[in-house]
Symmetry: C2
Subunit: 196 residues, 2 copies
């Protein structure tokens, strides 16, 4: 188990892509929660500090491994900074959701993850990632009976709209602007987050 | 193009399955709308009257070809008989939707149709069938601005809940009773059908 301390330790051009390859394999096989920086480093035969050096955190490593075109911190901040009240947070959540889907560069890996979920019947790694970074933080602001079920209903609604708009291309849903989508969906998402 | 007027015309045991096979092929390749009794009969090399004799209508032919375990008339009646007002119709629509999904015998072909939509990016034949028989009739009772978009939003919501419950198996959504589902989803579906 000797580390390859030759070309790799000096940050050889292929160390970064070797780490990404190991990360993709681990996220796909073990899921998001059970993937660790240490495990990815071991598999890529590099020191864990090199993974941190290149990617900073497990969240960012995941984001790059599925080719998310933006840093998770960026959209997390946009959802949770500001008024934590149900309606305001619901609007930010809905807007960020559709803005991520609108970018072809992020839509492609998202569709890939949904296909994996469909063909295997298993939640995709993206699901755990979204859960850990977004759903669990939304949950901090949702109270009352059946809070967990109501959050899942809100997620189900957003997922269904994404399917009809981006997979099936159903009209007029596929052609309306993001502003129109946000205006129509937000009150229903807010009603799930605010009450049972 | 001579009809095989030997064993087939007397209702030979394989005429019915030959019709079903032709129907499945046509629904899959041409979609629901462009499939005709006449075309299926031609492809199966039987007289159109034999298709009517066995299946009664295109709706029933479709239902049998995708192995729906109940006659379309049955659930159509349950949705549209009774008070056509938004909230009451919304509850019947949501209840029938989940009751169909709850039956393993109908869930299997429904999941198959969703997989087709995912892998081909095309709306599945089931989509047109649902549209012609259900969505277009729901639309008769939905008025006001963006009625079509609101109906699609309601459909998107139901689809998303079905995905999380029956495909992903997300808890607690996958384990709550149909009554709980209906109680939670109906007000949001009703709000789409009643106003913009």
């Amino acid at each position: 188990m000797s580390k390859r301390r030759g070309p790799r330790s000096s940050g050889a051009p292929d160390a970064r892509s070797q780490i990404l390859e190991s990360a993709r394999r681990s996220f796909a096989e073990s899921g998001y929660d059970r993937t660790t920086i240490r495990g990815v480093a071991r598999d890529a035969d590099v020191d864990p500090s090199l993974v941190i050096h290149y990617f900073g955190s497990k969240e960012n490593l995941f984001a790059e491994s599925v080719e998310l075109p933006m840093s998770p911190e960026l959209f997390i901040g946009r959802i949770f900074d500001g008024d934590p009240g149900g309606a305001a947070m619901a609007e930010r959540l809905v807007r960020v959701f559709f803005e991520v889907w609108e970018r072809p560069a992020s839509r492609r890996p998202l569709l890939g993850q949904l296909r994996v979920a469909f063909s295997t019947g298993q939640p995709p790694p993206m699901g755990e990632f979204v859960f850990d970074l977004i759903v669990s933080r939304v949950a901090e602001h949702v109270t009352g009976p059946q809070a967990e079920l109501r959050i899942e209903m809100a997620a189900a609604h957003l997922l269904g709209v994404a399917m009809l708009r981006y997979v099936v291309g159903m009209e007029p849903l596929a052609s309306v602007s993001v502003d129109e989508l946000v205006a129509m969906v937000t009150p229903r998402i807010a009603s799930y987050l605010e009450s049972g």
